[in-house]
């Protein structure tokens, strides 16, 4: 399996895991987030045989803080997170940039151009300007592995955390990766007590650390110049050049396979510090340069400034002249159009007739709005909440539900059309407080999952209790971090290894915070859940409802599902109330009557509770 030089078809995230193993790393920690999750997930599966400690932390800042401690202790550690997670870890990251790390400390962050996972298209490269920290950008699975190996060495050599940045198409794309040698773990001498390096507690120390940080980044410049992660192909006599980073490089390579072009190309692997001499060599050889990078014109700004410094008058094509977009991801076509602009002639002719047929065809593909899985406990939660509001006489838009990150937000889709807002991990509760402060007279419900609650929902819950704000905190506790593929959370009761772990209960935390009205119900029990919501909605002060039931996908895997339900075709009147109320993927309509797919049904029984003619029964037909 470890054979040096062997080829493996793996995704970018798996390659990051492989790079971590090759670097002799014993510790990895992170918080799940698309598209970064599989990096730690892969390590977690290998942890036992490799003697590694691989864990999910409650949030990214805690993960980074633990990793820093591991590094202080003399060991190497990988920290993984999605782009939004880096915002959470930033407070500590910016601090640890100052002072020293001991064991190699590498932060793997995956951005999401195109917003496939449905959050902001933040460009993490800009954080190199906030923190000064070095960053390597990866363009395929092979460079993902190689970057991690290089980053651990650099981190230890310069005593500084290194960021490795990927994007969705690289992180989730598969390509053959050639394995390298696995290094034996090597423990460094742990930190000695030296507050001038390990604290920021005096202006003199901080300024000294700031100076050292600048010197380190300057010193890494020479590493950036000679790194194999940059690829400069200067074509003799070529007056046109392309600078690319990340996945754009692969689109450019596809174009160069399709068309024979006289252009020089440069893949920038080092985003910070930039390989200035290599950039200069390219700029001095060409008259026109195209910059390919997704999201913000980060390289383009720098290249423009450098061109001026080098005293060159070079035309620059990129985002700032409107050729390429800042929004969304790139693709072959966008890059081909940009290259066409560079060379001054179209590389391909549009086929308008084919495009017209394609546009006609596209209209026939129906919209598929996302919904909860069969047996998802959140289906019970939003149905009970809808019914409770109705029975208390509230209209459809009288109750504001602030949503949160994760599967719970899917309550915004029909038939519930609940959840008005979604901001960031834990924000539902703070947002709900603010809405009440600003004078919303009707109840405000904050709907948050268990993993999200432990991540960032506890401080705002304390705020609710402290100020006595009449907010309903609904913790949709399915015992796992579900959206990202079922990573353990403090509510799970077992660890990554499958071994038993302490189970932390949201109601205990809320009670300790001082919220005295806390209901715990099973969202498969519509009546009980509805009553709990009704009481909470009528409470004058803070209240909470914990809706506890395991994620049905987890229950299915464990063989813990109830028997499937069936429809009595005689009893079914075809009113479709069950489908209209629950929108369950196990349901379909056959000859104007309901049918339940036995294999898909998770046995939750919500449909039986909704059916007005009792035509749906467990094990029934």
């Amino acid at each position: 399996m470890d054979e040096v030089g062997s080829l493996h078809l793996i995704m970018g995230n798996e390659a990051v895991a492989r790079g971590t193993i090759e670097s002799g790393v014993q510790f990895a920690i992170g918080y799940p987030g698309t598209p970064s999750t599989e990096a730690l997930e892969t390590l977690s599966k290998l942890a036992e045989e490799r003697g590694m400690r691989v864990e999910w932390a409650v949030n990214e800042k805690v993960a980074f803080d633990i990793a820093t401690g591991i590094s202080y202790g003399g060991d190497r550690c990988l920290v993984t997170m999605k782009s939004a997670g880096l915002n959470v870890a930033l407070d500590s990251l910016a601090s640890v940039a100052y002072g020293d790390v001991v064991g190699g400390l590498v932060v793997y962050v995956a951005d999401d151009p195109g917003a496939h996972a449905g959050m902001e298209e933040t460009d993490s490269r800009l954080y190199t300007q906030v923190t000064m920290l070095p960053m390597i950008d990866v363009s395929d699975p092979q460079t993902s592995k190689d970057a991690v190996v290089a980053a651990f060495d650099l981190s230890e050599k310069y005593k500084i955390p290194i960021l490795v940045r990927s994007t969705t198409r690289v992180a989730h794309g598969r390509a053959p990766v050639r394995y390298g040698k696995v290094k034996a773990p090597e423990k460094k001498t742990p930190l000695t007590r030296d507050v001038s390096r390990f604290t920021r507690a005096s202006a003199a120390w901080v300024k000294q650390q700031h100076r050292v940080l600048n010197e380190r980044v300057k010193a890494i410049e020479s590493e950036a110049e000679t790194s194999q992660l940059n690829i400069l192909n200067l074509r003799p006599g070529a007056k046109l050049g392309v600078i690319a980073s990340g996945i754009s490089w692969s689109y450019l390579q596809d174009i160069l396979e399709t068309h024979s072009l006289e252009i020089s190309t440069f893949l920038i692997g080092f985003t910070n510090p930039l390989p200035l001499n290599l950039i200069q060599r390219l700029i001095e050889s060409v008259d026109k340069v195209l910059v390919l990078e997704e999201l913000e014109p980060f390289l383009e700004h720098r290249v423009r400034a450098l061109t001026h410094d080098f005293g060159r008058s070079v035309a620059i094509i990129g985002k700032m002249d409107g050729t390429l977009p800042r929004v969304g991801e790139y693709n072959y076509q966008l890059v081909e159009n940009a290259v066409s602009r560079l060379i001054g002639r179209p590389l391909s002719q549009p086929d308008h007739e084919l495009e017209a047929r394609q546009n006609e065809a596209r209209k026939l593909a129906p919209t598929r709005s996302l919904s909860f899985c069969a047996g998802c406990p959140h289906r019970g939660t939003y149905t009970a909440l809808t019914q409770a509001a109705k029975e208390l006489g509230y209209g459809k838009s009288d109750i504001i539900v602030t949503g949160d990150i994760g599967c719970t937000i899917l309550g915004m889709y029909p038939p519930w059309s609940s959840c008005w807002t979604e901001v960031s991990m834990g924000a539902s509760i703070g947002n709900a407080i603010g809405l009440k402060y600003s004078g919303v007279k009707t109840p405000v419900v904050a709907a948050i999952g268990d993993s999200t609650f432990f991540h960032a929902g506890i401080p705002p819950s304390i705020n609710v209790a402290w100020r006595g704000t009449p907010v309903v905190i609904a913790v949709l506790d399915n015992g796992i971090t579900a959206m990202t593929g079922h990573q353990p959370s403090p509510s799970t009761g077992y660890a990554e290894t499958g071994k038993e772990a302490k189970k932390i209960k949201a109601e205990d935390i809320l009670a300790a915070a001082g919220i005295s009205r806390v209901h715990v119900v099973d969202p498969y029990d519509l009546q009980a859940s509805k009553e709990a919501f009704k009481e909470a909605l009528e409470t004058e002060g803070p209240s909470a409802v914990i809706l506890r039931r395991d994620c049905s996908l987890v229950a299915r895997r464990r063989g813990a599902l109830g028997a499937p339900y069936g429809v009595d075709r005689e009893g079914c009147t075809g009113c479709l109330l069950c489908l209209r109320t629950l929108s369950c993927p196990a349901m379909s309509v056959e000859d104007e009557k309901m049918e339940i797919d036995e294999a898909a049904c998770a046995g939750c029984g919500l449909c039986a509770q909704v059916c007005p003619t009792d035509a749906i029964t467990q094990g029934g037909k």
């Binding site: 080829l7 496939h116 390579q253 084919l354 065809a361 596209r362 129906p366 899985c373 959206m483 996908l553």
Partner: protein, 209 residues
């Protein structure tokens, strides 16, 4: 060696499109080809449209098929074959499962579904070489209702003029199937294969495109 050969797999979350891509890419790798796979994960469990791009050949770099350059489209649901027509062209050969997965508004009667003929005709106007089969029914008839993706895999293996060999597809299938499902998956594969081979126009030595 092959320069460029692209397979686009269109499906609805839960149909096994991602597994199908994995089997085909492993088969290609076993034959010594360069491979790239691009997919959008995350919504696969939740009823969304899912697409996988399997790219094979020496001239292949990016994970996504350039517009119009799909060699073969495998669509596990009819209307999904029209989700991203920009990747298809005259030269694309398509295998389409005819069993619809209707979105809920269609089931409720709030929206009207398109009939199969309308969908397939629209596809044929872009890519004339289309083969249809009821993979769901075939899978159910061999007691493998969850294996319609494997029925389509069998149909693909029988298509002829593809660069992947039957042997490598079969062994990739065996490698990626858990033991307890191997028997039913093998039946699903073979029935898909037989169904396709029975077509007069497939399996011949015609050049694709």
């Amino acid at each position: 060696m092959v320069d460029e050969y692209n397979i686009l797999i269109a499906s609805v979350g839960g149909q096994g499109g991602v597994t199908l891509a994995r089997i085909l890419s492993q088969a290609a790798l076993a034959q010594g080809f360069n491979v790239r796979v691009g997919e959008t994960l995350g919504m696969a469990q939740r009823g969304g449209a899912v697409q996988s791009h399997v790219r094979i050949g020496e001239a292949v770099h990016g994970p996504i098929i350039p517009n119009g350059r799909t060699s073969v489209l495998l669509s596990l649901e009819p209307s999904e074959s029209l989700r991203t027509p920009e990747y298809l062209s005259q030269g694309t050969r398509a295998i389409v499962n005819t069993a619809f997965v209707h979105p809920i508004p269609v089931m409720l009667g709030d929206e009207k579904p398109h009939d199969l003929d309308t969908v397939i005709s629209a596809l044929r106007r872009i890519s004339p070489e289309v083969y249809t089969l009821d993979a769901k029914r075939i899978a159910e008839s061999v007691g493998a209702s969850g294996s319609l993706n494997i029925v389509v895999l069998g149909a693909y293996a029988a298509l002829g003029d593809t660069i992947l060999s039957e042997a490598s597809i079969k062994s990739a299938l065996a490698e990626s199937t858990p033991k307890r499902f191997l028997e039913q998956n093998t039946r699903a594969y073979e029935d898909g294969f037989r169904e396709m081979r029975a077509r007069p126009s497939s399996g011949s030595n015609r050049t694709a495109g």
